[in-house]
Symmetry: C2
Subunit: 432 residues, 2 copies
């Protein structure tokens, strides 16, 4: 197992920054993000550790990262992209240095009060930003359980999965401009919808707002146009992962999606968690990916077919309620198509991948009812509403609802987590 | 008519640069592009005039554009985006200055041999680049004739148009990274296809390579997330237009497209003409857009519904042949949904538009057989092959074929044109 060869993942490691056993951000994680210390200061590169943010630009200024031979100012960009493009070895060198500086027995940062004050900031005092300039955004549809559920609802049990679904990782191009981070609000979108049996559509706010529990990965180094990424080199192209809420307006989607796929029903907003967890940190939580039947074509066949054991939860809290309802407990490991397969399939035509591309999984539903990753499935198209702790009923999402997704890998006495992506729905604008 | 108020469009204007009456680039056009004078020099901003390219960075350096109060170095960027974002009045001021400097009676540039040598370069000596950093790319499906043709082939005459088609401009998100310019080659893509009645797909080079004759426009200034662009303000957001060849692998498309739309069948390459023709230059060629029945919903209803009279042609030339075959003569005016409607629909959910977004029309087919904009329609799915002048037969495109699209507005004794987008198909790579 890779954890035995990567000292930064050693479960016995401890930092001088105190953390609880259920923190998502122990010294074994060290995710990257972009933050501003105060509203007046420029965004820069940070690493999350417990309830603190470590300012890498400050560490570089002090020469503490010199041995990694990094480009000047690489941590002062307002996005991770220039760092993501560095060779893997160089990125690993940074991880090793940061891990070393944060260890409880290492005095360099621990005992330098002046440096600590400049380099370590309370996470609740900083402003987070989009971590990555997303070049192109692609959304897959890789959960067999989700595709089956949706298929049963729309086409019946006999034809639930489309014939292509088991043979290729179905996906579509999404809208990159409207991707934002946890904490931003989402405004209920307007659009065209049609009543059952009506001839003409009407215009108004979506009535069937939904979330989709997904995870996404960022491409680190890109590929050249005309040069497919071979399946067994694909994993090396992946920089790290985030939680993704792929907001969906089901009534708009139903009317618009044929024959070219979802468009307005998805393009108004997509939200991600702000801390990008690297593949190095996830390595100890590798699992074999689900067996595939039929066996995929050669360009999708992996020597080392693997996925990750990432617990996922969704909670809905109505405006004014103290308590939310956990509507879903799922796991990334349920996905049928792996990230490597998605990347190999995406590029097999010669489509050039870029540093900063975001590829999302599609809704991650598990086999049981409690593990479904969208309201569409949880309430089975609204036929089985859920009741929030405050007594309110939900078929789909209401204005004022906050949807919070969280995700973490469970180690022995510690977690490596993604924090959360939590966003509130605001009422539709008055467009008149 | 706007030409009477815009002196740069006056058909009687003449430049001291001699042009033929059939040039696409008389003084009335003045399209923008990005070029390098030589391979060693950095890309910069140019204006095409006849067979010459005018270097705007040189003009700005000499102070000849000072009265437009432009940001320093705006013409030294390797993309048009910073210029596209300027207020319309400022962009118009530049057009007026450039038009003035190129007039036959204006001595400033005409009689300054040293300046002429630095600022005017033969178009066939420079290297053209992608003119715009495309933020997001969206492809519509706005030709009723094309959608009907495809519908008849795949679903029969009775159900040719999907019920939503006449009520909203159907579109989908495309792949921005693989957009290139005229002159680049396109490699025949590999992908999954399935034989009729087969249970399992196979992998190999696409056998049904096709072009799609389209036009695209670039968004000049963007919009804020959550703020739809009102239909009657949409036209002002459009910077200019180009020809678009939306390469399509029909056999890959047929197998993959349900239920989320085209993906690999389109993502390997899209090519555009390198000179961006501004809306100012197209103004004299405005036409009323086709009547719509049913009347669209209010957010798609235009006070000043208009399109442009742009002749479009496609020619296919086989490798080694001296002569090509004109397979299509169409016109932009056939499109049912206008650019303003596309932009209003795209953003009505609150989707934020960015400077540099490219929105393409979808295949522009006319009512007659000679005006169909794809091989799929021209050969009616391969059942009616065309014969090239050298005697070769084509159902779809073959390796070595060059597809050249051109487009122009016909004035009285002059043209305002787009040049061409011409690209050759290379054989599929050997992936083993």
């Amino acid at each position: 197992m890779a954890s035995s060869i990567d000292p930064t993942c050693d479960p016995t490691l401890k930092s001088f920054i105190p953390v609880d056993s259920d923190t998502h951000f122990p010294i074994q994680n060290l995710p990257y993000g972009i933050f501003s210390p105060t509203r007046r200061e420029d965004p820069r590169f940070g690493v999350r550790i417990g309830d603190q943010v470590l300012d890498l630009a400050v560490l570089q200024d002090c020469g503490l990262l010199d041995s990694a031979s990094l480009p000047d100012g690489i941590f002062s960009y307002p996005v991770l992209n220039p760092f993501m493009e560095l060779p893997k070895e160089q990125r690993r060198a940074v991880r090793l240095l940061v891990s070393g500086l944060l260890r409880e027995e290492e005095p360099t940062l621990r005992d330098n009060l002046n440096l600590r004050q400049r380099a370590l900031l309370p996470a609740d005092s900083v402003t987070m930003h989009m971590p990555v300039a997303v070049r192109d955004y692609t959304d897959f549809y890789s959960s067999k359980e989700h595709a089956t559920n949706v298929g049963i609802m729309f086409r019946g049990k006999e034809n639930a999965l489309m014939p292509n679904w088991l043979q290729l990782p179905v996906g579509y191009h999404g809208r990159a401009s409207s991707i934002g981070i946890s904490g931003e609000d989402v405004i209920r979108p307007h659009g065209q919808t049609i009543a059952p049996d009506a001839e003409f559509s009407t215009f108004g706010p979506s009535r069937l707002m939904d979330f989709e529990l997904e995870m996404g990965f960022f491409v680190g180094s890109g590929s050249e146009q005309g040069k497919p990424i071979p399946i067994n080199q694909a994993a090396d192209k992946i920089f790290g992962m985030v939680l993704v809420n792929d907001w969906s307006a089901r009534d708009i989607q139903k009317w618009e999606y044929q024959p070219l796929g979802p468009f307005n029903s998805k393009n108004f907003a997509t939200h991600i968690s702000p801390w990008v967890v690297t593949m190095d940190a996830l390595e100890p939580f590798r699992l074999e990916a689900p067996a595939q039947d039929p066996e995929p074509l050669a360009y999708l066949r992996e020597n080392d077919r693997h996925t990750f054991d990432i617990n996922l939860e969704v909670e809905i809290t109505a405006e004014g309620d103290d308590e939310g309802l956990k509507v879903c407990a799922s796991n990334f490991k349920h996905l049928y198509w792996t990230m490597a397969q998605q990347l190999a399939h995406h590029s097999v035509t010669g489509c050039n991948m870029s540093s900063g591309d975001m590829l999302a999984s599609g809704t991650i539903s598990g086999p049981d009812k409690g593990s479904f990753g969208s309201m569409l499935e949880i309430t089975w198209r609204g036929t089985e509403p859920v009741i929030l702790p405050g007594g309110k009923e939900r078929k789909f999402l209401a204005d004022g609802d906050t949807v919070a997704m969280s995700g973490w890998c469970q180690g022995d006495g510690y977690r490596v987590g993604f924090g959360e992506v939590a966003n509130k729905i605001l009422p539709a604008l008055d467009l008149l």
